[in-house]
Amino acid sequence: MPEHDPQRLEIANNIRIGLALENELSADQARAYVRCLQTSWQVPTIQWADRDSREQLADARRLLHAAGVLREIEGSASTRAVDCYRRAGEIFEWLARADDKMRARAPIELFAAAAFQLGGLPAMANALLSQLPLDGAGSGLYADFLRADFDGVLAKVARFWRDHPDLTQRDAASALLREEAEDRIGWYFTVELVRALGLFADALRRDDTVRLAQALAKLKALDAMALRTFSDDVSLLVMLLHLVGQGYAAASIYRPVARLADLAPDRALRVIAYAREQFSRGRGILWSSQQAGLDRLLNHSSFALCTPTGSGKTLVANLALVKELLLRDHGDVVPLALYLVPSRALAGEVEAKLHAELGADLIITGLYGGADWGITDYWLDADKPTVLIATVEKADALMRYLAPLILKRLRLLILDEAHQVVPEANDSARVAFAEHGSRPLRLENFVARLLARAPDLVRIALTAVAGGAAGPVARWVENDPNAQPIGLRYRSTRQVIGVLQTAPQRRCTMLLDLMNGKPLYVQGRGDPVYLNLTTPPMPQLPGTMRNSIYRFNQLTVLWTALHLVEADRRILISLAQQPEQTMRWFKEALDLPAWQALPRFLPPEDWRGERFAEARAACVDYCGENAFEVVLLDHGIATSHGQMPQRLRRLMTALIDERICPITVATATLTEGVNLPFDIIFVTALKRSAYDAVARRMVDTPYTAAEFRNLAGRAGRPGATRGMEGLTLVALPTAVAASAPGQQDTQIGQIAGMASDYDVLREALRLDELAGDAAVGPLALLLETLRDRVRTHYRIATDEAFLAWLEAALPEDISDEAGTGATDPASRFADSLDELDAFLLTAIEEVARIDDGTKDGAALEADLAALWRRTFTFAAQVQEDWLERAIVRRGQAIVSIVYPDADERRRLYQYGFSPYVGRRFEVIAPAIREILEAATDYGQADAASRLARFATIGRLLTADRGFGFRIRDTQTDRRMLENWVDILGWWMHVPGAAKPEPAELRAWQRFVSDNLEFRLGVAIGAVVAQSWSAGAGDPLAIPSLEAWRETTSLPWFGFWARELLRWGTLDPFVAFALAQGRAKTRDDAVLLRIDYDAWLAQELDRPTSEDRIDPQLFLSWERAMPRGPREDFDQEPEAARLTGTTGGKRRYGVLPIAVDGATRWIDPAGYELARSDHPAIAFDASALRDDFILNTAGRPSVDRAFRSGGRR
């Protein structure tokens, strides 16, 4: 090491500390950022002199210098260099976005992008360069290169060669140097740079390592030459291009993929093609978090990847699937992966992504069907590796049906959003235990059981950063107390959190409080950063609309949003609750005369217009022509909430994702893990209020930091949004809106309340950022809850006494109303115990099914202890001895005392309810079975008789609150329960059925989703599952349509009932057509039924009632349908004649350039190699996204070696 390097390091590090600490801005930097924000929002800026610009520019150069020193001495992985590059990138970015004069002095936006790339923030580089206008074709080329848009580089390079055909001749370079012209060296340098960049982009995309090395060597030489011959700034740019190029070559996805391919050389080609496709999707260069993830994937099996949404986790998950399912040798077993997601919406997103990328190699199924096993479950007997994407609830139901079969095939478990296993340690979490609705517990429970049964299963957890969950999750999935999560240091976008101040007759102001979790302020003045919006003040609302401050506030948000979308921004208005009320408020406001001057929304005219029409039709189908949802959609406002029918929710999500609707109004269910492109999120409330019937008062539940963080994380998806930062603004009124003095007093209090909610949230966010590694496990929380209850209920104080109590306690001894959904403390206590029993009984029974019989004594104890060691709770927290003993002793009590009958335990397991509820359900199960058995005429019955079948089953559930229908303790809900058959008729699309008024719609939808889809569906599913198990002797038997009726002894109605409830139809064919994507609305499916009936009449002479709804016949009909033309036809090679090559290399990568009806085949370095004078295909610029090979062995011809898929 050179003698003075230690001092050089010290100087560079001091610069880093002075200017570039992560998330700490100096006063000048904060001012630069604020000015940049003000410019991009087109509001007046703070005072700023040329000198300020010069100083910022000088600082950015200092940082680049320091980064260079750190990298030179510490190596290219220097994290301190990364800090310097990031901040340099930011300073350049802020100057560039403020449209600073410096943009004319130096290519600062290119410097910014390069610095972001070298700082490991490629999304920032991309976002910046995609929003700034660039001057000159060269700038455009370097910009594409610096944002890793290699297709773009090649398009620009091809244009250059088309415009300069003389430069594509074999001796063009030396001819240029032989010229007389004074400027020949300058032009020569430019041409060689274009050659190098084109070759680099093409070789990188194709993974032509030899030519990639050549291109890099050329870039290096050009850098060295520029250093000696050009000005500071130009040589800096060439140096940065070279460094960024080096980084790309090192981060190419081909590198890890090639190592993966070594696992199974016979599949290498397919895996490499996968990598090429990633380039086509703009994901060929791995982000640092992905590199870390893939590195772990290559060297280990199980791990936790801890990065925010939008940082490319999906790619890691995909390659894990490739590795475990496609590349590993599993002998005769067809491997299976389970991809657990927190919501059905996310299941849809993941399925679509996986299907697009791996659909040709794997069966990807989202398990959407209503049944636990249904028509979409063809994967079971397919011989293709399969990925099941499911919520925990769905996966759990499937396991009860098919555990032995699944465990035999399961090789990989992916836990998405795994941090959701951490419960909030609050009252609602405790109530959720009693109501059997705790998601964290369900997830812990399911995974622990799975891992106990399949300890060799490969596990990958994808988890968020903050909140302290990452460490415990890593220890859990790796089953190693020393495991560490990977990828912590990555943040893909800039997150800004603040306030939108609203007041009557005034323009709104944005206050920006937090940037990436740290306070943002202009130092020295202590002022918050604010932007006065130029949106005109909202016209004075009628008095009735102002009487509620909440209504006024929400309408101001809508008014502001409607103006902001003009600048192509995408906005989410996030609601805490009661979306139907907001939708009504919005509809009524949009009807006001003063709002009519706002620009009208026009659906796009391209394919997106068809998407819009499809979603609108589904909205009319499920909500009615006059529903608020339809009215808002016509104004370009998409809606989404948890009770919306699944199909409609997916269509609405597509409208948002494809940027068709600029504004979205939604509750938090939209954003649970789903990644949608929003620039701004307006939050209208920070808590939910509900009436607690036990306490007889309204109870507020504030947003937790995790909930809010998840929501805010949806703003500013990298590359998809307009700005560089995701803004989350809490709308807070600053003045009363009402005129009447009494109402004004109320509003003053409400305004203060909302402000205080925001202060509480900010503090929670601050603490959350600091949260270390202190997660609590759901099981511990449940056991602690029980211990506390025991202490107060029985005055039992010691742990030992509590354990003794666990060995004998029965729910019915605690409360007469155990298992009935009663809300008094004793019943909740009993139901919490039942929840613990559910965990234990399920685990014990699963073991018993596979090992053929229940163990007892020491063997059972060992099983229970092993189960305990697989829980998240065990990995998460400091171990208290009594927790494990509680699990073991209660588990033993279940077998010996609580549920001693093995047959009963098996049935209770099968039902899927918690055992005490299951025992109560068992009383009515035979009646449900009888109804199902009797429905042999369902296929030809009329609508009224069909509806009656469901109504009869439903009636068995109306009186019970344990397994039966559940409603809130309100008049509206009680009325709905009384008239529930009307709701059933409406939902099942019975002609002439009563319809909800728009204002009632959501209440009806909630009843459908809670009670018809869920509770009625679960009850029917439990009986069907029981029937299957009773009929199937072999637990490894694969369910099949052929054997279904015989095994269950049920008519097809049993097969379809749950599916019908899911789709809202009485006709199995309609459910089938919707599930298979054959029809877009229920009415479309009814029309399709005519085709089917005609087909059936030809196939069978006299179809029976059962034939009419036989899923096997449906499938035969579908197979007989004509197929669309194949899109990807095999193309004949294009004949060519050689014009610029000896052909000695036999294979040459080429690009097509169409000129005057001929195609010139150009080497990516800009040399014409061949021509096709009369090409069969006219290649346009889009062909530059594909790979072509010129074959010179034999008659020269050109083949398309890769065709890019996907839409831009």
């Binding site: 050179p2 610069i15 030519r211 011959t229 130009v234």
Partner: protein, 318 residues
């Protein structure tokens, strides 16, 4: 690295020097008049210094040109040789730069510092910077040139501990005939017609403007440091450290500096012997920068012959 000492005997034979130092030691003037004809001996004696000055650039230029990206290219490309391949005007620019180095190293200049030129930067491709951003070779320049190209020449003086103590930075120009109007163009900028009045006046963007407005850490220093880091990190470790400080620390003590203006060119009939083109008795009023100034006037009789003879002679084929 440039390591060849100046050809002292040849210089003394070739040129007669008239040095002066005025204005309290802040202004040096050196008039050099050609004393003997250029011949093969002179070229032979000058050649090693020129080859040394150009060696680094030649190596990298050749490396770059040697990489032929044509897919059939298997061997390093046969290419023109640097700097002999350079166009005539560029050659003359380079000659001025090398002479600036040679003069700085050989003669005692203002301040009597011991100047060294570890590596010569040759920045004579302004047009390339236009082409790079336009990707076109035509003369329509749609935008202002990015950045400043910086000074033509940069040398340093090292302190005893090896750190950089001072820099000499300047403009080195060659003109075939040094008439008064040519000198005016050089020093005060070209005549430009005022669009409103129609009157022609000097643009003001001449050498005086360049040397007066330069910033404390001269352009080119960053590049010089990067070259030292690449070429001799151990030998110049202390110099590299001192340049780090200068280039990256906020409010660093500015590097003491001498400005150099070297005008080389052909004599014209209107000039009397031993008469300078730029006044030598005291600091010219046009100069307003705070640093010491050294002016060098090199009046030659057959400069073109020398330049072409010299450049044609570099790196003779074996």
């Amino acid at each position: 690295m440039h390591d060849c000492p100046p050809p002292a005997d040849a210089l003394d034979r070739w040129l007669t020097a008239y040095p002066s130092i005025k204005s309290k030691g802040r202004y040096g003037h050196l008039l050099l008049e050609q004393d003997c004809d250029c011949d093969a001996d002179l070229i032979a004696e000058m050649r090693p210094y020129f080859e040394s000055a150009h060696r680094d650039a030649r190596t990298f230029f050749h490396d770059q040109m040697g990489i032929d990206l044509h897919p059939d290219a298997d061997d390093p490309a046969a290419h023109a040789t640097y700097p002999t391949c350079l166009p005539p005007i560029t050659r003359r620019g380079l000659f001025g730069e090398v002479m600036a180095g040679m003069v700085s190293e050989h003669y005692e200049l203002v301040g009597k510092h011991s100047w060294r030129i570890p590596v010569f930067l040759f920045r004579h491709h302004e047009d390339a910077e236009h082409y790079l951003f336009a990707l076109a070779r035509d003369g329509t320049r749609t935008r202002e040139l990015f950045g400043r190209k910086g000074s033509d020449f940069i040398g340093i003086a090292l302190a005893a501990d090896g750190s950089v103590a001072r820099a000499i930075v300047g403009e080195a120009k060659w003109r075939k005939d040094l008439q008064p109007s040519v000198m005016d163009d050089l020093m005060h900028g070209k005549l430009v017609k005022n669009k409103k009045t129609g009157i022609k006046a000097r643009s003001g963007k001449g050498i005086w403007y360049q040397v007066n407005r330069d910033i404390p850490a001269p352009h080119g220093l960053r590049q010089l440091q990067r070259l030292l880091r690449e070429l001799d990190p151990d030998g110049h470790s202390a110099a590299i450290l001192s340049l780090d400080r200068l280039l990256s620390v906020r409010n660093a003590t500015p590097l003491p500096r001498t400005n150099l203006i070297l005008i080389a060119g052909g004599d014209v009939p209107g000039r009397d012997a031993q008469t300078s083109l730029i006044p030598w008795e005291k600091m010219p009023a046009d100069y307003t920068a705070p640093h010491a100034l050294q002016v060098v006037e090199m009046i030659l009789n057959d400069g073109d012959t020398l330049i072409d003879g010299l450049y044609d002679a570099l790196w003779p084929a074996p």
